[in-house]
């Protein structure tokens, strides 16, 4: 088994006088992308800075490439930190920016020139090496910053909201560059974002930072389909959360009962499911009324009321119903996550 490129063991970081983060632990394999998702102020950037050595970790250990770097300064950690906006050195040309990590390591000139040329080519900036950084476009600046980071050949690349400030076309451009560079140079990546879409696209695994700790760390598929707790389900914006109880292997609620997968203790529980789990079906067992139709970038969804509960359902493939229409609905039990002990549902 490959040794992890990055390992955090019980890391705690304070935010001023507040308790901040506590007990953070995870591993990232070489070439793996871990996305840390959290709301604003959740401590994502603080955690990233602690890993980089730019903020002190109060407790725990940070291990990079098998070496405990907790007491080491940022320059000795083998972890490059990239800010949300690319911070290129304005007094250096594009070429010299990318060459910076190599120059400070005393790399021989011919090797340096070859390496920088290769990196500039890989981010499609070949021919722009002599340009001043202020003349680059937004996307070019991001790509130059990524090339400079890769020139350091870090074991770990830490990216703070790399796509957040970009418009959709630039977002795709930077995302593609990021993924191709990583495929070639294979650093472990920790990417911080608050955008679910970015997390789903970029992450091999996603960690949810809630209440100062990692509430769930899973593959995107498992995370979005099987949130581990109600707070995680709420954070992920899962639209339908219905309270009920578990009895004899069934989840019972106002919507009826459905089988519960796995071992769940009897008692109060909540079912969380996305709009795709609930759809109009002429053979369905639940009668509901369409209240509103919501048209979004990924298609339409229905706001419906079933058994007095307001839910979000997938729009039918055929003719769109109208508000006030009565339809029959079906829930797909395998798309529903039942969370035990949840009684404080909206």
């Amino acid at each position: 088994m490959t040794a992890p490129a990055l390992r955090l063991v019980g890391v705690g970081v304070r935010f001023g006088d507040a308790p901040g983060l506590r007990g953070i632990g995870f591993e990232v394999a070489p070439g793996e992308r871990l996305v840390l998702l959290g709301a604003s102020g959740a401590g994502k950037t603080t955690l990233l800075r602690a890993i980089a050595g730019l903020a002190p970790a109060e407790t725990g250990r940070i291990v990079i490439g098998g070496r405990d770097v907790t007491p080491l300064p940022a320059e000795s950690r083998d972890a490059v930190y990239l800010h949300q906006t690319p911070l290129l050195f304005p007094h250096l040309s594009v070429f010299e920016n990318v060459a910076f990590p190599l120059r400070i390591r005393g790399v021989e000139e011919a090797t340096l020139r070859a390496t920088v040329a290769e990196l500039l080519e890989s981010v499609r900036l070949d021919g722009l090496g002599r340009r001043r950084t202020s003349t680059l476009s937004g996307g070019q600046r991001h790509r130059a910053a990524l090339a400079r980071a890769m020139a350091a050949r870090p074991a770990v690349l830490l990216l703070d909201e790399p796509l957040t400030a970009l418009d959709p076309s630039l977002r795709e451009e930077v995302r593609t560059t990021l993924l191709s560079l990583q495929a070639h140079y294979r650093p472990a990546m920790v990417i911080v974002t608050h955008d679910l879409e970015d997390a789903a696209v970029l992450g091999d695994r996603i960690g949810i930072l809630l209440g100062g700790t990692i509430a769930q760390l899973d593959s995107p598929e498992r995370l979005f389909r099987r949130p581990a707790s109600l707070p995680v389900a709420r954070f992920l914006g899962i639209p339908n959360i219905v309270t009920g109880s578990v009895e004899a292997g069934q989840f019972r609620s106002a919507l009826g009962s459905m089988p519960v997968g796995g071992e769940l203790p009897a008692g109060p529980a909540a079912a969380a499911f996305g709009s795709e789990a609930l759809h109009a079906d002429p053979c369905g067992t639940m009668r509901g009324v369409v209240r509103r139709i919501h048209h979004g970038p990924r298609g339409a969804t229905l706001r419906v009321e079933v058994a007095g509960i307001k839910l979000e359902a997938a729009a039918p493939a055929g003719a769109m119903p109208l508000p006030g229409d009565e339809l029959l609905f079906t829930i797909e039990p395998d798309r529903v996550t039942v969370l035990p002990g949840a009684t404080d549902v909206r």
Binding site: R49, A74, Y81, H91, F100, P101, I104, R132, R148, A152
Partner: protein, 274 residues
Amino acid sequence: MGPEPLGPVRAVSARISRRLLLAALTLSALSPLVLLLLTSVGREWFFPALWPASITIESWRDAFGGGGRIAGALGTSLALAVATGLASAAVGWPIGRTMADLRGWPRHVGAAAAFLPVAAPPVALATGLHLSALTMGVAGTFGGVLLSHLVPAVGYAALYFLGVFTLFDRRIEDEARTLGARSRTVLWRVTVPMLRRQVGEAFLLGFLVSWAQVATTLVIGGGRVRTLPLEVFSYLQAGQDRYAATGALLLVIPALLMLGAVRFAVDRAEATPL
């Protein structure tokens, strides 16, 4: 809706006003220099004559001739000003940066401490420094005068760098560190080159503060360290207007040249692609 465009008459009137203002500013800047130049070469120029009776370059020849007092004083002034500019920029940088890192009352106290020698009347400052210079045994020496010039110059530089570092984005230094640069490398390869214009301006500030010092030079130097401003004063007191005007012009020219040189050097460095 944008602002209403000016009518043709108002537009012409605005253009004329701008040109008149520019002409007035140019005249006010150049006329004292022209007057000084005429005084420095004019012989027997008495009121109400608009023009000197004859022209001589005697004062200029004497200034740079063998044993000329003005040339020696110019050299001392230049040495003092360059040393003050360099030292005040070097000392003001860390002080300004440290103050920028402070928050709340410690920052205010630091800024007030830096401002004190700037705000204090030069004679009061000179008197206080004289006692210190006597205690240190540097009164009447070049080093003593340099130290006395540094007191207000460092104050200016520290306040200047406080402003610079308050606005400076430290994250770029963080990024350089994670790329593998040690603190010294970050300083010399990132921060100083990035702030070279500001460093140049801080040097110029210190240079000009020293260049214009009279009271501290007179009191601490005790007449043994002769700078150009002191010579100008002594020529004025002796009624030698031609020599005083020559010295005054020599006071203006190096300051302007230094201003131009710093700007040129910084602009050129910033325009160089590799």
